[in-house]
Symmetry: C2
């Protein structure tokens, strides 16, 4: 995990010529949710700005630490790799990768230095001249009829892919309680089978697929000790009901 | 590609109890960028609303087609699978998947009917009771210290993963021009080697790794016919310069 976090600390998110400070704040929030912290702004129209702070919510530390520079060259100086985002095809693009592959490229290059992901302005994206400064073009798969992701939304997808590439996409797991043992499960099925026969749901002369299907259902769920107890309680109660009716 | 688009048309995005119409608009835009169109709103505080339209930009058709319902049960009625999003661990969650795996689950279930992805309110997410209505919990890998994605940003990541799962993540490709033939490339290297020797950059008695490294560089790039012509022009010009100096 330490190596993964080191890798995320190598990433610079570079926003060129943003118009709306709200987008800068939302981009900072998007970065921080994925563990990215290094924001570089090239000639923003308005920054700092209270609208950026409002949209950053809990990620104002990213805004506070942002670097403001005058040119893209300064923003990517010293980077081992600069990757420009572009939604639309460019005639002179060298190497173009889908964002997922670009994230893997970032992972393998990070040991050699910083990696910049470069985003153009809200209205027109990166110019061809700006994109030519980037060794690689990354693109986010999108609806060909409407590929216009909001700037912060694009940063969210990029940051998300970087986190998954860096950490393997660890998430919280469903809580696990004590699993039932094989013999507890077999006792439940044995008891259940007798009861199903008594209920006339299962015909032992023509059992069809009923028991295999029930086994499959519970196998998929993965029975816990407590659940086997609940189910045996239900079966026992049915047995009582049948016994009462019969005499 | 048709099958993939059919699959995306099976997806309902269900937003429960949204507070801010701007988020609904931004979520509609996020959906449409990935080719999703079916938005279901459960008890939104304000809808329709001009702020939603403003933030939807080119995706107002998604807002126009949105269904507004009173309960989550109505919203997921008839679905083959309802998947609830949750950033934080829940004690009674059954099956929890990272969003990428949840998207694959949606792909394999879609032939059986609609799939709902259910999002809770901006402030508190889905309640335990709402999450219990969902057969599966999906979670977006995030910074454990700040996992608070904006609602529309979360919709963007979910829609993006669904698009990649459905279509394989097709993107635009770098333009390809006529590639150089093997003999054109060999002629360039033969000429280049002679010139490097004449320039005293390459010592034929001790060639080291210079030529293999140059070959590797151009092999990675994948030389085009036009590029070989440019390079041969440069080599020829160097030959002229050397010839002029020598007498």
């Amino acid at each position: 995990m330490t190596a993964a976090i080191d890798l995320l600390s190598r990433i610079r998110i570079v926003l060129v010529a943003t118009s709306h400070p709200g987008n800068v704040g939302a981009a900072a929030r998007a970065m921080f949710t994925m563990g990215l912290t290094r924001l570089v702004l090239v000639s923003p129209r308005r920054f700092p700005d209270p609208e950026a702070v409002a949209l950053a919510t809990g990620a104002t530390s990213v805004l506070d630490g942002a670097t403001v520079l005058g040119t893209l060259d300064e923003a990517i100086a010293g980077c081992a790799l600069a990757i420009g985002l572009s939604a639309r095809p460019r005639e002179f693009a060298g190497r173009v990768l889908a964002m997922r592959d670009a994230a893997m490229e970032a992972v393998v290059t990070a040991p050699h230095g910083d990696i910049a992901f470069v985003f153009g302005s809200e209205m027109s994206g990166l110019s061809n001249a700006e994109l030519a400064r980037c060794a690689l073009v990354a693109t986010i798969p999108a609806n060909p009829d409407y590929a216009s992701l909001n700037l912060a939304a694009a940063v969210q997808v990029v940051a998300y892919e970087l986190r998954v590439a860096a950490t393997g996409g660890d998430v919280w797991r469903a809580p696990r309680f004590a699993p039932a043992t094989a013999d507890e499960i077999e006792a439940l099925f044995a008891n259940g089978e007798r009861t199903l026969i008594a209920m006339r749901i299962l015909n032992p002369e023509m059992p069809k697929k009923l028991l295999p299907r029930l086994r499959r259902l519970f196998a998929r769920a993965g029975l816990e000790k407590e659940e086997v107890n609940i189910l045996r309680g239900i079966v026992a109660r049915i047995d009582q009901l049948i016994a009462r009716r019969e005499p």
